[in-house]
């Protein structure tokens, strides 16, 4: 019997094997959203815990990785929703200070961009973060969020329109 089927029947050894082969990928998905490595580790465990509890509902004919990514997205989004504001400016800027580039905007410009990004509605911001910042393919985003390709494109379009308007209003132009 294959691993996924054994997992769906509650086999702990199968779960351990799947855990070890998918933990890195789940962690990467979560850290891209929450942008906090320590929190991402806790949320990775939470993701697998939920998967384990829902094992009987897993359809072993479908992709285990895709199912897991969907759970991970929900876990990460719930975590962010509990925070006020949902994505903290310091988390958005976390990786900015670690890599310097000649085209780095000034502190004030960066603050304006971060604030404009924060103002996006949550469902649009999540897609924008993955599509525009992390450059994840639209199809992958759709699969992880349970959205059609056109719904992902619509949210990216809305994000671009709102960001452009807000940045323009505050005198920041690409």
């Amino acid at each position: 019997m294959d691993l996924e089927k054994r997992f769906a029947r509650g086999d702990l050894a199968a779960f351990e094997t799947l855990f070890r082969s998918h933990q890195q990928e789940v962690y990467r998905w979560i850290v891209r959203l929450v942008r906090d490595p320590a929190a991402a580790e806790d949320l990775t465990i939470e993701t697998f815990w939920r998967a384990y509890r829902a094992a009987r509902r897993f359809d072993s004919e479908r992709s285990f990785g895709a199912w897991l990514r969907r759970i991970a997205m929900n876990v990460a989004r719930k975590h962010l929703a509990r925070q006020r504001p949902e994505i903290r400016v310091e988390d958005l800027a976390r990786y900015a200070s670690s890599v310097s580039a000649p085209e780095d905007p000034s502190g004030e410009t960066r603050r304006v961009i971060l604030e404009a990004f924060q103002r996006l509605p949550e469902n649009v911001r999540t897609v924008a973060l993955l599509a525009l910042i992390e450059e994840v393919p639209y199809a992958e985003i759709g699969q992880a969020m349970g959205l059609s390709l056109s719904a992902v494109k619509t949210r990216v379009f809305r994000a671009v329109r709102q960001l452009r308007k807000e940045l323009d209003r505050r005198g920041v132009r690409p």
Partner: protein, 72 residues
């Protein structure tokens, strides 16, 4: 995305850096096991829903259970 959107994307990525290819600092399986042992295999919301549905049926149609036991 068109060229203008690309420029906007670049501006965004200059302020909000993409997360680099991060690796887990440790294998999380031992923590997973601790979590599982601590909490135990709890009932899922579906399990609770099934119990609630059974309880509702039992309260509304108690005679259904005598029929069920008779059939068994």
């Amino acid at each position: 995305m068109n060229a203008k959107d690309d420029e906007l994307g670049q501006l965004l990525r200059s302020a909000i850096r993409p997360v680099p290819d991060v690796e887990l600092s440790q294998d999380l399986w031992p923590r997973m096991l601790t979590r599982m042992h601590r909490t135990g295999r709890l009932w899922s919301s579906w399990d609770w829903a099934a119990v609630a549905a059974g309880g509702t049926v039992a309260a509304a149609f108690p005679e259904a259970f005598s029929l069920l036991f008779y059939a068994l």
